[in-house]
Assembly symmetry: C2
Homo-oligomer: 300 residues x 2
């Protein structure tokens, strides 16, 4: 019998913590090393038996791991990638969960010690930290996976692909989508980073509004809540900052809003026809409503 797989999860926040909990439930044999800068997080994850061993990033032994998953916020993730790869055993799998893939996969390709496969699970909530983690977070979700880069050994690459796919499938993912890093970043710009920036700008408007703010909060119905929910997820901002398509798209969105404002004043009938057509199209998208998270995060 082969030795159980050893996986290090670096960063036990919402995503890393949920991944640990999901893997623990689906693959009890897998040895999970939790890595975090926060001692309380490590303690809590160990208490819940989400991880088998706990370590801080500077002290963790990564050369004993088959797989390392980077789950920290975007900028530190990009910065630590080379040094993490350098400390792993040659030919092992390094992967990540960052919402921007071009820069991260470039960093993965700039070394040839390990196989790097960029990943991005399309899941999240506006809450953060290990306290918000739950084993069902990835249930039914889509995970984008980029082509392997780094170490060139063909056998090791096939093995790495198999392992990263098994990782997400056992964590609950329903669809694994093979995608090039730049196509990913363009698509995620529309699907996530632009909605995030719009939500943040709208939320900021309410936060900074003066005398009408209190009344606006009393009058805020489900529309405001839903439109701005994503603004509470600060981690998306980090990925958006690493996505080179975002600034141009945000300027185009600004122009779209300005044109809409002009149309509402000058040609309201036309503006309303346009908005009504958007409404019809949006309803037709029939985007699924996710299952609510389980009441208890994890059975102790």
């Amino acid at each position: 019998m082969a030795a159980p797989e050893r996986i290090a999860i670096v960063g036990l926040g919402l995503i890393g913590g949920s991944l640990a909990l999901a893997l623990r439930r689906a693959r009890p044999q897998t040895w999970i090393i939790g890595v975090d800068v926060d001692a309380r997080t490590l303690e809590q994850a160990a208490d819940e038996r989400a991880i088998d061993a706990a370590a801080t990033p500077d002290l963790v032994r990564l050369d004993g791991c088959d797989t390392v998953v980077l789950c920290t916020p975007a900028q530190p993730l990009l910065e630590m990638l080379p040094s993490v790869a350098a400390r792993m055993q040659p030919g092992a799998l390094l992967t990540d969960v960052c919402g921007a893939k071009e820069l991260v996969c470039s960093a993965g390709a700039a070394q040839d010690r390990v196989i790097f496969i960029g990943g991005h699970p399309m899941a999240g909530t506006e809450f953060r930290g290990y306290v918000a983690a739950n084993p069902a977070l990835f249930s039914g979700c889509t995970v984008a996976l980029c082509p392997p880069v780094g170490a060139a050994d063909a056998g090791a690459r096939r093995d790495a692909i198999r392992r990263v796919r098994e990782l997400w499938t056992s964590a609950g993912a329903e669809t694994l989508l093979d995608v090039e890093p730049d196509a990913h970043d363009r698509a995620v710009m529309v699907a996530s980073h632009l909605p995030y920036l719009a939500a943040a700008a709208v939320a900021e408007t309410l936060i900074e509004s003066g005398s009408e703010a209190m009344l606006a909060r009393e009058l805020a119905a489900g529309g405001f809540r839903d439109t701005t929910r994503l603004a509470g997820d600060g981690t998306v901002g980090g990925a958006a900052a690493l996505n080179r398509f975002v600034p141009g798209a945000a300027r185009a969105l600004a122009e779209r809003l300005r044109a809409l404002a002009d149309a509402l004043e000058r040609t309201p009938d036309e503006a309303l026809r346009r908005l009504s057509s958007v409404a019809d199209e949006r309803r037709r998208m029939r985007l699924p409503t996710p299952a609510p998270p389980p009441a208890k995060p994890f059975p102790r």
Copy 2:
């Protein structure tokens, strides 16, 4: 014993239909006349006994009603208000549900036959029409009510205020908020119309995006769904078009987005600190999640 109150609801869409269903359940004695241009809607509402009588707008006898509630889309509502008031009995109550109050209350003040009290229930879904109506739509919601205008009789005004408050309380509203029309429109601009326009602009970006559109749809997680949900509610657009504070606010939002795009390129650390502070504030808002609508719209 006084005769039962007679209420005409003009427009049996999501809001008017839900109001009829809620009143029928809470006040079975109230005589409800459903008014709509669509014969099938009238038939369905009558079949479900949501209404006691059905009529088209041109044929309905409004002079027998104590209260008329205008529940049509914003622009037709504004246009029909004077002729509806002219056909009612003097001193009766005319009220509405439009999301813009300045123009509508001005139209109500331009006649002196009936008491007009502008109302705005803060409730809705992205679905529309009588088929989407449900008697719990207003359960726990806030309703903004403007000061009475029109007929000057003090006794009739007191009576009208009492009746409009009872109307919404029995429909399930939890908070009745007395508010001036211009303060309402400023607040609703921030709370609803601006989020709506942002949602529509983001949804339109996805709809118009070319090659990346399919991939973007596959990658669209809960963030896109929630941010753009409001864009599916075309009725908000009609109210936004009647709100004089909207175009300026939309231009300010565009400027905010453009500045954010510049900051992400030039001073990303600063941009991320700003976004992170918005995220913290947004989470602190702790906006309530509404109760799901009942599985069955109405017991037959």
